[in-house]
Symmetry: C2
Subunit: 349 residues, 2 copies
């Protein structure tokens, strides 16, 4: 299957070379993997972003940690077999130490300190680079998606949980300990609902897709998991007052969080991803209005929705791998390290 391309190369990237006679020349590729709680997405991506192969397999998290790791390694080996793959980029959720190549913690995979880069390198004999799934999604949206043309961009993925990523000048901020972008745990309702993290009033407790559904069900007095966020959106459109209240609360909390992001980091654009972004204008129109109403001394950044959808993380993993091969920074701080290591000249030279 030839999937729709991500244009993952920068504008100077060349198309796949065509030999005299029109035959496609085999090109160097990277393998990209995006490990989620339910499925592992993978693809082979050329330098110009052409996706020459794309597939999904179930994660099988219920089978335990070793089985999931085996599945990832096997999937990677199948992907690269017989292809001119030069590197692997992989994204995982949770707390990720990209520099050490270790997935520190992922609740939905049951992972703690999994040396995934070492394991993959041993299995496939290729350079492997590791990133955080949502921050890779942010990287991809900024480079080739809804953030193109913005000097900087804040990506917020609203699904079962909420996480974000700040991209400036095409490089994503991982933070000093790989924990940047925990916007889902920004406290927006002090003393509010208990969050999984142990704190009260985190954004996730009001505005995640799962909590929107739960809140509606609880206010209706039905089973907590009986309504989805999509159904709440539909009920809201039909004029259901409880759905309107739940949706308004979710928008207000998102606006509070994005107002905090805006005054702190001044992104040139905000991009919404994750399942809730499928609500489109039902989400973006009231959110833009609520954000604007919170800005007293400046205008708000424009709000857009994801262009890459649920392939954002996969596209980001491909970009990460290509950046690695090109010695191009994917994350903030890398370029200055290069300067500090002596690659930059001084005026005194």
């Amino acid at each position: 299957m030839i999937a729709a391309p991500f244009p993952v190369s920068d504008p100077g990237g060349s198309p796949l070379p065509i030999a005299p006679g029109g035959q496609r020349v085999r090109s160097d590729l990277v393998a990209a993997m995006d490990v989620g709680g339910t499925s592992i997405k993978a693809g082979l991506v050329a330098a110009d972003g052409t996706v020459v192969r794309e597939a999904r397999r179930p994660t099988g998290a219920e089978g335990g940690v070793p089985a999931v790791i085996d599945r990832i390694l096997g999937f990677a080996a199948d992907l690269v077999a017989g292809e001119q793959v030069k590197a692997i980029g992989i994204g995982v959720p949770g707390i990720v130490d990209s520099a050490a190549g270790i997935a520190r913690y992922a609740a939905n995979l049951g992972w703690r300190d999994v040396p995934i880069v070492q394991l993959l390198t041993e299995r496939v004999g290729l350079p492997v680079v590791l990133g955080h799934d949502v921050r890779l999604g942010a990287l991809a949206e900024a480079r080739v998606g809804a953030g193109v043309g913005a000097a900087s961009m804040y990506f917020i993925a609203i699904g079962t949980g909420i996480a974000g990523g700040q991209v400036t000048g095409g490089a994503v901020d991982n933070g000093a300990t790989g924990q940047a972008g925990e916007v889902g745990h920004l406290v927006v309702r002090p003393g509010g609902r208990l969050c999984n993290c142990g704190n009260h009033g985190c954004l996730e407790t009001v505005s995640s897709a799962s909590r929107i559904g739960q809140s509606y069900s609880l206010l209706r007095g039905t089973d907590a998991s009986s309504t989805s966020a999509r159904e709440v959106a539909e009920l809201m459109q039909a004029g259901d007052p409880i759905a309107i209240q739940v949706w308004d609360d979710a928008i207000a909390a998102l606006a509070d969080a994005l107002a905090a992001v805006t005054v702190l980091t001044d992104p040139g654009r905000i991009v919404l991803g994750g399942g809730l972004s499928l609500a489109g204008e039902l989400l973006t129109d009231p959110l833009a209005e609520a954000l604007a109403s919170r800005m007293t001394f400046r205008s708000p950044p424009p709000i857009a929705v994801t262009q890459l959808g649920d392939r954002a993380g996969l596209a980001g993993a491909a970009i990460l791998a290509w950046d690695h091969l090109r010695h191009q920074p994917s994350t903030l701080g890398e370029s200055m390290s290069a300067v500090a290591a002596g690659e930059g000249g001084t005026a005194d030279d």
Copy 2:
């Protein structure tokens, strides 16, 4: 006067050259200027950070905008006269468009859209680079002050107002519109006191040095400007219950704001500057405790106080000018632009 040096060069910077016979060779210099509401600080700084001249003159903001600009231009001309100055770095408060070289808005100077870079260049015939005073302070603390050794750093200057700056890999984030770091206008007490910005409950309304003094005075029933933050700190140490309450409120609001910064950007270190940082452990000890109590799923970044004090902005202006001469990025995003412009190679080359 030979002032104490800022070691503004990077570790590879060479000391001032000594000619055979031990005579000091005249060295290339940059001029640094930091324009504040009450004084203009200026200095001449060598490549190794040696400050070969340093001076202050009153801003004279009460004399009107043209007079202040004249004073800045005259100060710059005096500074560079007869010296081997290669560039000028200047920091101003407010909203700064560094790329365009325009000071967009500065309340305490009465400035709107002042093309300060063009004016200075015309007067002194040298390259001029413009930055925001607090973000330049952040840059300096990260490179040569209390942030040295941290992968990233958040600097917060707490004085009459409150502003901040995030530095990652030695480059400061100006934001997409030059308005990053407005942590003073982060809403930490929704529905709270009216802020100058028109919003309610901004951090500045609780924790700025000026508001700490005012809050105490108001609770005591005296004139709003009769007590300083320093006096509140002293009264608190003496056991004054109102002073304890005001100080605790200020610490709690600062901790709320720094918790937001931490979950969003994950700085490797937090550095406190501005007048309130003179309180030292009276500020840092309870603040570190309050920040830690707000962290449920991660440890807090360590908190330090400024090493450069009220010279941080001046040191940052010197770094900005030296970076300009060395084609080294001072702000996030610059390096990726260079890569996008073709300076980086690709794996296909």
